[in-house]
Amino acid sequence: MANSFRSSISILIITIFFIIVFFKLFFLQIVEGDKYKRISQNNFLREAIIPSPRGTIYDRNGLKISYSRPMVNLYLKNSSKANSLQLISKLKNNNISLSQINLDNIFDKINNSFLSQRILIKKDLSIEDIYIIDTKFSSYENIELISDYLRVYPHNEVGSHLVGHLTSNNKKDAIYGNLLSNRKGAVGIERDQDDELSGTVGAEYFFVDSRGDEVSFENLNYSYDEIEKGKDIHTTIDIELQKIIYKSLDKLNGAVMVTNVNSGEVLSIVSKPGFDPNLFSKPISSKRWKKIKDSPDKPFLNRAFLVSNPPGSIIKIVTAVAGLEEKKVSKDTTFYCPGSTKIGNREFRCWLRGGHGNVNVSKALVTSCDVYFYKLGLRLGINKFSEWLSKFGVGELHEDFPFKQRLGTIPSKNFINKYLDGNFYNGDLANVSIGQGYLTLNVLQAHKMISIIANNGEFVKFRLYKNQKIVKDKLLEIDEKNLQEIKKGLEGVVNDREGTGFQARVDNKVAGKTGTAQVISKDSKKYGYGKFKNHGWFTAYYPSDKPEIAITVFAEHGDSGGRAGGPIIKQIISYYKKNYMENDDQL
């Protein structure tokens, strides 16, 4: 091989390799340089979060319903066993009580974690403890004080379903482990407004080596990320009213809803029994959670939205409106009630054995005469009736409302075809006309129904937050005269001598309708006498001349709507008069 050939081919091969290296270097350092820079930072940069407090939930009067209380925790960092023992004994010598401390646990963590991970020594230090640590331990590099935030519900179970509670976020901080401020809203307003309420955590950066141990690395400074506190939420809730209602339910379980019919503002939604939402501000043991969940009272069940029951006589409002509007009866049409009527070959009884005699529509509402509504229902027919139920929102979802709802059933064509093979007999129709049988609804729907009546057919959607806009539903057109007739009946329910809701009487301005939902439960025999009782409904508005608020009471096994709901409504209206209407009186 010639000399010159050998040297040039060698140089050529070498040059090719050098060009490959050149381009690969160019690619790594210039084209992909930013990517590798980021990876190299991720290698050694660790982020220790600085917890941020969740926003406060206020009631309409600025009272706190739910807030985050700062608590200072003591952590051990970058510590060896010997080191930590010495520190702990020094802490003890300075009268810092470490009674719950588990040394084995701490040693275990020291052995099994990177030094940069913090180990919790004591939660929620007292002011005195903080002072001692601040003054006497300032030179110790191995301890760290961090503020965390505990969610507090000062009214305990009173608003539990409405306000909600927190739950674990599954976001364990790499440095501090479980932080309470890391929890997120699980249900209720806490969940609905979680994005607003949760703040943005801050961060402090530090450096670790390849073993994950913290190292100081001069020349490289990374700034802190400031925390951002969560936003406060101003609700329309009146927490004092909520408390009064909860108390007034006394031994009864059930749900009560109070709203302003003109603005849609929710003043109260009570579901009893409640539970203590504070339990969920910290990790809760599954045993304890199960115990509450499996308790026969079902405290986690939101009875206002997640339970649907037969409406009983309160549905007669819809039956009456439908009858008048469809011109099946006029306000003067009377039916004779002898105490029962025969439909097909079955005897359908009125609740009053002796009968009501001749009754027109308003009298029928006042006395809740079953026979009148059997007959009216038969005249109306099932299709017209369920059409009107839908118009009132029965069987429908209340949109834009941040709660899960169980819709219940109405005997619509669909339902009849699907579940009853298309067979719907007159007996069935009579039953649903008085709110029994194939008709169930939840408190929210019952409340919407009375709100529509109170506001003359114009329904303002329920809203929970002050900054929410007022949204009106399409006007439900009801003839003015017919409406007056219905209202007259509803006023009579409370104020007439024969009225079924006289227990709610306050000042002749309460109007409403009572109802009793028959309990035909398979397991009712298991319970004592009280559990055999029927559910009581009472839905009302006030004041009758110019309605402002609507109230709906559902009393589980409350026997009768009037007896169970009447006194509760009375207390609500007394409170409302005192706190919302006094100025009017003075004028």
Partner: protein
């Protein structure tokens, strides 16, 4: 003013560039440990630099004929060391490759690569260049290669064995080139490599080769080194993080950062520009001597010059490709630049001989060595 006129002479350029690379290597290693201002590797490497200086001056005063005369002895001496190391060698990370002589630990594998070149140069030059000797050249070249190769495999040091293989093959094939023989060789090599794979390769070495072909297989284990090396190089970007700012080395993410991955640390500290400087310096020390090849008449000098250049080239290129993930991590440091006494002494010996040839080759162009 310091006069750089001494750099006019080709041999001075080689000496200067060689030591300049070593010096950059020392600077590179200055601050690679988290807790020390100056790393022990940098100091030790600098001491080796000082030690190698008199060797260079001594070599530059030698006559080229002396090199030819000591070639056989040089080779035998290396072989003896390779045998000795198997018995009295110190085991480091699974390979018995270190020998202790008068308090210095030394890697005989470094020496054999150079002494092989010397002996083969002597034999080839004595055989002359007529074509009938081609088969003899092959036979001798292979025999002289196989003895140390097998001894190194016994240690076992796969990386060094591979380097000996590529250096000797490049010499044998360049100076006794024949298509038929080349094909036969490739066939033979592939036949031999199967029993080598099955019997001689350590599991970790096999893993490294498998890992090279499928690097995404094992990002936490064997692939980790390469990934972190690429992160080091890439994160240097254009201008680098600055000397002493290699977070990858300081915080322990990049293993072997003073030996196999010394270049990655340099690239991280000095960026693309620094990497280019290294590329240019090596390009010079490898290519510049080769440009003299056509002017040299004596075969002994030609083989030595060619062999030494290929010695530098392969050590450099395989290491740099390794750090960039283009070649399996076979544990080869970057010659001159990485930390390591034996390698540094042998390499400075190598470029000193290159310089000596560039200085004196004209004296032998008529009569030979």
């Amino acid at each position: 003013m310091i006069s750089f006129s001494f750099l006019d002479k080709p041999h001075s350029k080689i000496i200067f560039v060689g030591y300049f690379i070593i010096l950059l290597g020392c600077i590179n290693l200055l601050q690679i440990q988290a807790n020390e201002n100056i790393s022990i590797y940098s100091i030790k490497q600098f001491v080796w630099l000082i030690i190698s200086l008199p060797i260079t001056f001594f070599i530059l005063r030698l006559r080229l004929r002396t090199l030819k005369n000591i070639s056989t002895f040089f080779y035998i001496f290396s072989i003896v060391l390779l045998i000795l190391v198997l018995f009295i060698g110190k085991e480091v990370s699974g390979a018995k490759s270190w020998i202790n002589i008068l308090g210095f630990t030394f890697q005989p594998t470094e020496l054999i690569k150079i002494s092989y070149v010397f002996l083969i140069a002597k034999i080839y030059s004595e055989l002359g260049s007529y074509s009938g000797s081609l088969i003899i050249k092959y036979f001798i070249g292979f025999s002289l290669f196989l003895i140390p190769f097998i001894l190194i495999l016994f240690q076992p040091d796969f990386g060094s064995a591979f380097m000996l293989f590529v250096v000797s093959m490049s010499v044998i094939l360049s100076f006794s080139f024949n298509k038929k023989y080349l094909l036969g060789l490739i066939l033979l090599a592939s036949l031999i490599s199967i029993p080598i794979w099955n019997n001689y390769l350590e599991p970790y070495q096999k893993q490294r080769i498998i890992n090279f072909i499928y690097p995404e297989n094992d990002p936490k284990g064997f692939g980790y080194n390469v990934i972190q090396s690429k992160v080091s190089i890439g994160s240097g970007k254009i201008l680098g993080k600055g000397l002493g700012e290699s977070s990858q080395a300081k915080l322990g993410f990049l293993p072997e950062n003073h030996t196999d991955f010394a270049f990655s640390v340099w690239a991280e500290q000095t960026g693309f520009l620094g990497s280019l400087i290294i590329l240019i310096l090596y390009g010079f020390i490898i290519i510049f001597p080769l440009t003299f090849l056509k002017d040299i008449n004596d075969l002994f000098l030609k083989v030595i010059l060619y062999g030494l250049c290929s010695y530098f080239f392969f050590h450099f290129i395989i290491n740099i490709l390794m750090t960039m993930g283009l070649f399996p991590v076979i544990g080869i440091p970057m010659i001159l630049f990485s930390y390591g006494g034996s390698s540094l002494i042998c390499a400075s010996f190598g470029f000193s001989v290159l310089a000596l040839i560039l200085k004196d080759y004209r004296d032998y162009n008529r009569l030979g060595v």
